[in-house]
């Protein structure tokens, strides 16, 4: 994020003198329908809607009358985690986990939406640097366990993270997922599945004009367990001994109650 801010200001410094005045004061306002997603006992996922407005009408690619091209990119990133990927191999007729690679800084949730094909909006170089798109995530692999793997094989492990997370609907990309109305209003839906990781999220909205980010906004919603779910989770992780003992007493009590209720005769 810091790197990105520095980059923005650097870009601004270099480009500003050459740009016409309106681009500088390009105003972007965005908000979310909710900033707190609560995981409750009947949580089966949620949808957040991002909405916003731009001061100056966008000139999109289907609009031939404008000389310039404007696009919006929205990047949603969940809390990072370490992920160990294991590959099964056949050993003596059964499938066994063998090679393992641990990746650090893997987003637990990642979603990109845009008004256009990403490659048409901004240069591949920028996309890579800003980690825009599931295939461009920097997933570094500092730990390789038990076995030597080639770079290509590690790339397979990396791809496995993206495909598995995509299958679980935790990763996604939607070209055209940002909807424009009257060239000044926009909205997009962020679908959050039930297995979403809890923590702080970062939503970045980029306004790109002719391949250059001219304005950006960040929002920081969060996903949290609430009520009894939060209580139990915290209890289990902060006071594991007490939690275990409570589970034991609940089981003992349930057993005793059953033996009394269903006592014969």
């Amino acid at each position: 994020m810091i790197r990105f801010r520095t980059l923005l200001s650097l870009t601004a410094l270099v480009i500003l003198p050459f740009l016409s005045a309106p681009a500088v004061s390009e105003k972007l306002s965005v908000n979310l329908t909710t900033h707190q997603v609560a995981i409750t006992s009947n949580f089966t996922g949620a949808t957040i809607t991002l909405f916003g407005a731009i001061q100056q009408p966008l000139a999109t690619s289907d609009d031939d009358t404008e000389a310039r091209q404007d696009d919006l990119i929205v990047i949603v990133r969940g809390p990072s985690e370490d992920i160990t990927v294991r590959r099964k191999e056949r050993v003596a007729g059964i499938w066994v986990n063998r090679a393992a690679v641990t990746f650090t800084n893997v987003p637990g949730f990642y979603y990109v939406a845009s008004t256009n094909k990403l490659e048409n909006v901004i240069s591949e170089h920028t996309l890579n640097r800003e980690e825009i798109g599931t295939t461009r995530l920097t997933l570094s692999a500092p730990f390789i366990h038990n076995t030597s793997l080639t770079e290509e094989e590690i790339a397979d492990f990396r791809a496995a993270i993206v495909s598995e997370k995509t299958r679980e609907r935790l990763y996604g990309e939607a070209e055209g997922g940002v909807f424009l109305q009257d060239k000044t209003l926009f909205s997009m839906r962020i679908n959050i599945p039930a297995n979403v990781p809890v923590g702080d999220y970062l939503v970045r909205v980029l306004l790109v004009r002719d391949g250059v980010v001219v304005s950006s906004k960040s929002l920081r919603p969060s996903v949290n367990k609430t009520g009894i779910e939060r209580m139990l989770y915290r209890f289990a992780h902060n006071w594991p001994l007490l939690y275990g003992l409570s589970a034991v007493f609940v089981a003992l009590f349930a057993g005793w109650a059953a033996s009394v209720i269903f006592r014969r005769g």
Partner: protein, 307 residues
């Protein structure tokens, strides 16, 4: 209707879990077994992480065994001294088992180990039970008495040192065999999420030659404490005991077991055993398929550094 499990961090269908609890409870009531050896694979089949399935199922077995143990306590059919010796073995076994479980989990091999243990355990027990019950059914059809094993004379067990007197069981035997049986059951509880009554009861009858009227109560007494300890150890070591899941399983299991007892009373015991053997072999077969068929996805993801 979906319910979110805070420790497993996924949502499951509440009726599916209650139904499985009731179905396994029914079987456990019919056959007088804990049912953990069926419930743990069932939970894994529904997509729960095997470590959560094992740790939570142990918590449920504790409730089921406790209800039985309280009933036996009232009937005074527990040999507390024998139970205590089995328990000492159980404590050693379960501490070793939980350590093994945590180590395998860090190596990414816990799922494989659980599956392999189940295949071995269910395969052997299921085949033996099936053969034995078919033989009994044949014998009764031919009008022969269902062959009972005669109480044998002295075996190698009686030659072991550290003899103890167990008044309630009317036994004077070495403490080593009950300690060893308790330890094996403790390991099984920790790594497989079962009570172990399934193997402890036959071992107490055939190896220790305990009188049958105290066997079940004494075994339940040991299982209550061992599963209690394993629950606490898993909660502390791996935080895999899901309280919400355990509660649903307990409720479903208790209700199912009461119906199961009534159904079981109406069926012939050798038919019951043949049926149970088939269920056991079916679950075993499903687990074998999971091990030998090529999985759709060769890669699996786990959180953490895996060290």
């Amino acid at each position: 209707m979906q319910i979110y499990l805070p420790i497993a961090e996924m949502s499951v269908n509440i009726f599916l879990i209650l139904g499985m609890g009731a179905a396994v409870g029914l079987i456990s009531g019919m056959f007088g077994i804990g049912g953990g050896f069926l419930m743990t694979p069932f939970l894994i089949f529904t997509g729960l992480p095997p470590s959560v399935a094992v740790a939570t199922e142990v918590n449920q077995i504790m409730a089921t065994s406790a209800s039985g143990a309280f009933a036996h306590w009232r009937r005074r059919s527990i040999d507390f001294k024998m139970g205590f010796v089995l328990l000492v073995g159980g404590v050693i076994g379960s501490i070793a088992g939980v350590a093994l479980f945590s180590w395998l989990k860090s190596k990414g091999q816990v799922d494989l180990f659980i599956s392999l243990s189940y295949v071995l355990f269910l395969g052997v027990i299921g085949s033996l039970m099936f053969a034995e019950s078919v033989q009994t059914i044949r014998r009764t059809r031919q009008g022969l008495p269902a062959g009972r094993r005669k109480p044998g004379s002295h075996t190698w067990i009686h030659g072991l040192p550290f003899k103890m007197r167990f008044r309630r069981s009317k036994l004077y035997i070495s403490a080593i065999p009950p300690l060893a049986i308790g330890a094996v059951v403790g390991v099984l509880a920790a790594v497989m999420g079962i009570g172990g009554g399934f193997i402890m009861v036959p071992a107490m009858i055939y190896l220790l030659r305990m009188p049958t009227n105290v066997v079940v109560g004494t075994s339940l007494f040991q299982v209550v404490f061992v599963t209690g300890l394993v629950t606490v150890l898993h909660a502390v070591n791996t935080q895999t005991v899901d309280a919400i899941l355990a509660l649903m399983l307990i409720v479903g299991g208790v209700v199912g077991a009461q119906f199961g007892v009534r159904v079981g009373e109406k069926m012939k015991s050798e038919h019951l055993r043949a049926l149970l053997a088939l269920i056991v072999l079916g679950v075993c077969f499903k687990l074998i398929l999971g091990l030998i068929l090529q999985p759709d996805i060769l890669f699996s993801l786990t959180r953490g550094d895996g060290l």
